[in-house]
Symmetry: C2
């Protein structure tokens, strides 16, 4: 009876779609590609493609991202699987969504002219195909949730970064403003940041000291919960 279900009539296609959040030191952005094939050719979408039958899901996500944007070796994690029956009009297709956080400036070389990929400010996204807008909304929600408790967003910063940059990033994620005195006290109290001797001088005359992440401590303290949200009600 049940073993009969190990039959092929229920096989289906599985896609991966990659949500790439990026931070340029000021603003939170999302990487989109201009879809190069039908249906919906020419419209903006997440970097996505079909997973192969003999391919691990995580590797499929990396491959698709590489093929469509040129990005390689970026931090990615599985977010959710979307499976409404009618979500892709051509064929029954599930989509496993991956989410990623990167430092935009670190990867400008990789995202070159060969790819029709472009960064869009999170607040000014174009319309997206299928259910991609829902995917982005879910990813944003999860990013907030994680950022509220973990120092994970260091994935989106350069090797060296300043406290004002870090604060701008958190403000972007939560769409709120924070007090810089309280912010620096809290973030420094984690003991995860190492102050550098040099300064970032591009955005201010005085310059802001660089910090680096103490990666050893970061690994072990990952589960030490931080509470970065100034006030739950202020999150929009």
């Amino acid at each position: 009876m049940r073993i009969a279900q190990y039959s092929s009539k229920n096989r289906m296609l599985v896609a991966v779609d990659c949500i790439i959040f990026g931070f340029d030191g000021t603003e939170l952005k999302l990487l989109l590609i201009k879809r190069g094939f039908e249906p919906e050719k020419g419209r903006w979408s997440l970097a996505g493609g079909l997973m192969k039958r003999d391919e691990n899901i995580d590797l499929a996500a990396s491959r698709v991202l590489k093929e469509l944007t040129g990005l390689e070796n970026v931090y990615m994690e599985q977010l959710y699987i979307f499976g409404e029956v009618e979500r892709d009009p051509v064929d029954r297709t599930l989509s496993v969504v991956y989410s990623s956080l990167i430092d935009i400036n670190r990867y400008t070389q990789q995202i070159n002219q060969d790819y029709h990929a472009e960064w869009f400010p999170l607040k000014k996204l174009p319309s997206l195909i299928f259910d991609h807008r829902d995917m982005v909304a879910l990813a944003q929600q999860k990013l907030r949730y994680k950022a509220a408790f973990h120092p994970i967003v260091f994935e989106m910063l350069p090797e060296k970064f300043t406290l004002p940059q870090l604060q701008h990033l958190y403000e972007g994620i939560f769409d709120t403003l924070m007090d810089k005195r309280n912010f620096s006290r809290k973030v420094l109290s984690t003991g995860l940041l190492v102050k550098q001797k040099d300064k970032e001088k591009a955005t201010s005359k005085r310059g802001a000291f660089y910090y680096k992440l103490d990666k050893r401590k970061y690994q072990t303290k990952f589960n030490a919960f931080l509470n970065f949200i100034p006030n739950p009600d202020s999150i929009r």
Copy 2:
């Protein structure tokens, strides 16, 4: 080029597996079924089955759970997709894992003799097929994470429950002991509990007052983060 990938050679099977956590007032348990078909017939496994091609994923999970355990209308949420290439020896099969929290006593009628389903204490699980042990470990981790910040675990309690029961549940989830004075102060301070006039008299001579969840407030306050973990280091 790329449209050629909208071909059928990459179709694959997709299963759903259901992790059912239950609480009986004292102990955290997991619902397992004796697998009724090859391979691995006769061994214990999560309630799982293949998803149909014309079926929504969430509905597939509900259907499979109903078919294998008799359970209906339980709170379920998608946890993760497992997709190692060799995870199922018979055929390439992804598994979408769902996780669920229920009040064991409320559903004893539904889980009847027709089904080879059985509750196992979380600390004394039998060996499980395929990667099901990994699935359980991940679900447990996520349950802790959520329970640490949300009053979500009310899904696992009866309509009326006592503070000692609620505390035992949290102690089961975190495998730790909590101070009942601090616990009750914290949980009552949420304003989500409504004290009842009657008492539960089965487990003590004096009896413990019942409480009910204020569902209106629960809906709106769901995102008010609670911090139930006594001390992050004490979580094993």
